[in-house]
Amino acid sequence: MSYFEGRRRWRSRKEKREGTPAGRSTSMTAIMRGLVILMFGILIIQLVNLQVIKGEQYREQAEINALREIPIPANRGLIYDRNGTLLVQNTARFSATIIPGDLTDGDEATAYRMISNVIGMPASEIEARVTEGIEVQGEFNPTVIKGDLERDVALTLIELEPHVPGLSVQVEPSRNYLTGDLLSHILGYIGPISAEEYEALADEGYLYQDFLGKSGVELSYEDILRGKAGKKLVEVDAAGRELRVISERRPIDGTNLVLTIDLDLQAAVQEILGEYSTDNDNAAAAVIDVKTGELLSMVSLPTFDGNFFSGPVSEEALASLIESPGKPLVNHAISDRYAPGSTFKTIVGSAALQEGVASTGTTIVSRGYINVENEFDPNVVYVYRDWAPLGALDFYDGIAMSSNVYFYYLAGGFADEGFRGLGADKVAEYARAFGLGSLTGIDIGGESDGLVPDPAWKQETVGETWTIGDTYNFGIGQGYVATTPIQMLRAITAIANGGTLVTPHVVAEYEDSLGNTLEALSSDTSTVPVDTANLQIVGQGMRQSVTSGVARNASVSSVAVAGKTGTAEFGASRDDGTYETHGWFVGYAPAEDPEIAVVVFLQRGSGGSDASPAAARILDYYFSGGGPTYGPGEDIPVPDPSPVDVLDATAAPGTTDEPIADLPEPTAAPEEDPDTAPEPEPTAPPTAPPTAPPTSPPTEPPVAPPTDPPTEPPQETSPPAAALPDERRPHGVVP
């Protein structure tokens, strides 16, 4: 054991203490003790700083660390048609994403392989996407590997999430519109909240990842459909995994909506309208309950698949939708404004009766045109044409035959005969009273307010003086006046129901999830300043129009229809000097006790031969309970609407199978009487061509008032606009 005593080769020198002052040892001890105390002192100072002085602050941070408030999204409200048919479902869209920075280093290949096995995309492609994702948006933003996963695939992938750090399956709320393209403009669609929307709505509890309504009912009833998101306070670990729920507030699901729309009727209207339009043209039709303002149907063509925005939207697909000539994304029933043409005569007529300008017995003879001298130079004479020399017309005939001359008189008067008209301001006043020129207040967005011109407006906007020609054009719904189909429908509804201006709407009521009505919506109404009796006179004129006037193609066997056609020229003249025309029909049925009113608008077509039969089929569908409807060329002869026929047909009202019995003989055939229709002097025109005003133009310029005779006799077209010096204006009849 001596080895362990350590004496063999080396000994520690014990004599150190002899040479070392005892005090040194003591002082070293003191120094070392001091050092210990000093160092712990430093630590204690910092600890007191962290734990006592800043303790509260760190405690809060620890809480923020460990507690997370997680929103629980509410289910969006469902939407039903008026008969309880479900129109839209809530679904989810799943996409597989990778946060490259969260992938385990060195294990990426394994991760790619595991994901590849589930989603069936080659691992190399996944890797390529991740690489691209890193370049584009960095390591810590999720890169979408594959969007729109099948539900099963998504669920499998979600199970994989805990095993593959970096993998994340993102779930977005989506809507499945069950009716395809049938209600796209009414229902609208939802989309992710935009930066601007978020800024505006953050106070209302919207979150950055929220989806909200972007158009249609989805947008206008967002507040109702959305519900109220719940939230839960959860304790999470450092990896963000939820450990336990500390408190929870259940979400309140969105309220269900019941539309006023009748799905079957909507389908029929869309089908019928489609037969009278093409993909490159606009068309709109709507059916309204005249008592309540409930829209039973509203169709805008061309339409688009309601689920277009539910999936990933490709740039090209969106661009082609936007650039498509028919503008499918636009709801032409409410967003586009067009010259109303002769449908506007219903309003002028009502105004004339109310103002005493006309009565039922007011007889005006249409020789096919009227001449007006230039107020400064009597040698300059302007001619305003009717669509035919219609002879002597009383008020009913004026409407039924849609005589332009009759309404020139009513609107602008005729100085030569001492007939005092309404004047432009009165026409404008009544037009506005019937809701034109302002929003109807329909409960979906994107509505246009149209335009009701008056002299002050023209002076201000166009910078020119209003002329008698403007008043004449105004009186027949041409020139500057522009309306949306829904505005005309609303105006005609007021005539049908005795003077109540309803607010058209597409949502009937709110329902809870059990189908109990929470709130029935009613329409705000106002009253037009026209006596019911006068409106009934206009209505009788409209009824006569269908029975024996220009709207005969709108007659159906199942119900008595009252209606008014309109054929408004638009665009630039064609090579042969004619114009494209919009075809309008507004009307209601049954004529004696109106239930519904209808508007049909065709961007290309005529009121009598296209819009009227379309309306007839819609009305017949409604009143004969969905039975067989008229097709073009069946019960009602629909002549070839080709403009080529126009000139020949002018003076030949008897060319239809059904002669118009009460049509007065024209006093003279206009084509035989060229002298009375002198060309206006091209110089010193008092008016500018009624092209688009420089500001606030309608959707399309109200150019080229038509002079064309109708495509077939019982049909009017709007006559020439103001006396236009331009050669092309009074084309047609006048040599």
């Binding site: 054991m1 080895y3 362990f4 005593e5 350590g6 004496r7 063999r8 080769r9 080396w10 000994r11 520690s12 020198r13 014990k14 150190k16 203490r17 040479g19 070392t20 040194r24 040892s25 003591t26 070293m28 001890t29 120094i31 070392m32 003790r33 050092l35 210990v36 105390i37 160092m39 712990f40 430093i42 630590l43 204690i44 910092q46 600890l47 007191v48 962290l50 734990q51 006592v52 800043k54 303790g55 509260e56 602050q57 760190y58 405690r59 941070q61 620890a62 809480e63 660390n65 460990a66 810590f140 304790e235 999470v236 670990d237 450092a238 990896a239 450990l243």
Partner: protein
Amino acid sequence: MIARRAMRNFDVVLVLLAVALVAYGGLLLYSASLNAYPTITMDHPLTKQMIFALLGVGGMIVVAWVDYRVYGQMATGLYALAVVLLAAVLIVGDEAYGSTRWFSFAGQQIQASEVAKLLVIVSLARYLADRQRQMADPRVFVISLVMAALPAVLVLIEPDMGTAAVFGAIWLGMVAMAGAPPRYLVIALGVALAAIPFMALLTLGDYQIDRFRLWIDPASDPLGGGFNIRQAEIGIGSGGIFGQGFTHGTQTQLDFLQTSTTDYIFSVLGEELGLIGALVLFALFTALLFRGIRAATLSQDQFGSLIATGIVIMILFQVFINVAVNIRLVPVTGIPLPFISQGGSSLVMMFVALGLLEGILIRHKRLEF
């Protein structure tokens, strides 16, 4: 054999303090492992730690039993062993957390520098004790510096800044205790401080520069390297005076703290037991270190006194650095908290160090009676 009389000098308090620290550390280990190990099994870090503690106590007894002067006789060999260990670990060692510090041996990982520290302390003590009358000789001063610098450089290569600094502290403490002229010490400190910027440029990898940057501003990489600095700070701060309660620290229990059983175990204490818990720990360490200083004072010879000084400085410096990292006083550097942190090498070697102190104490022959 060790005389029974000598056993009277065995410092029971020192051992009890160490056992108290290990027990305290065990509690913290238990809390920090609660998520990963809900029940105590043979795999539980606490079980392993206790086994290592027993091993350490055994090692302590053996080391104390052998006359410490034997180690003095073996000093050259021990020093060579230290250098070989540190060099070998660079070649055949295991890498973890970007640093090569460990040998794999019998399924356990042995941290070479933990062993080397004690070997270097003994070697330095022998060298300085032999030259206690020549301490004014600059050559002695420089050679002792080189003796400490060689292993320090080797651990720096691993890289392990913290342990390298421990070598520096040990050397400084020991030469001071050995009676080196104060002006040398001042010069050495001055040179060391002046060299820091150059050292930083020449030898620091991006890894150290990153750590330094993160220490200044953990928010510069809140989810990466700055994460733990921040979470430790939040954890300790949120502990306040009395702590969040044992096993109730959210930072610890929800895994916001990383390496909460090793380098960041002090954060567990700070969060769950608060300032009071920290003061208790500091009190235990202070008492332990005072007992170590007592051993240095009582040692019958300079050799023993220097060993005791080296050990005291080593423990003090490690505690200081470890806690200072936790409370963001110094940049991150991986040094275990003696007796507390999970890790067999450190724990066993700490007990071995205590064995050296006991060996010194039981052989001192003066100042009693």
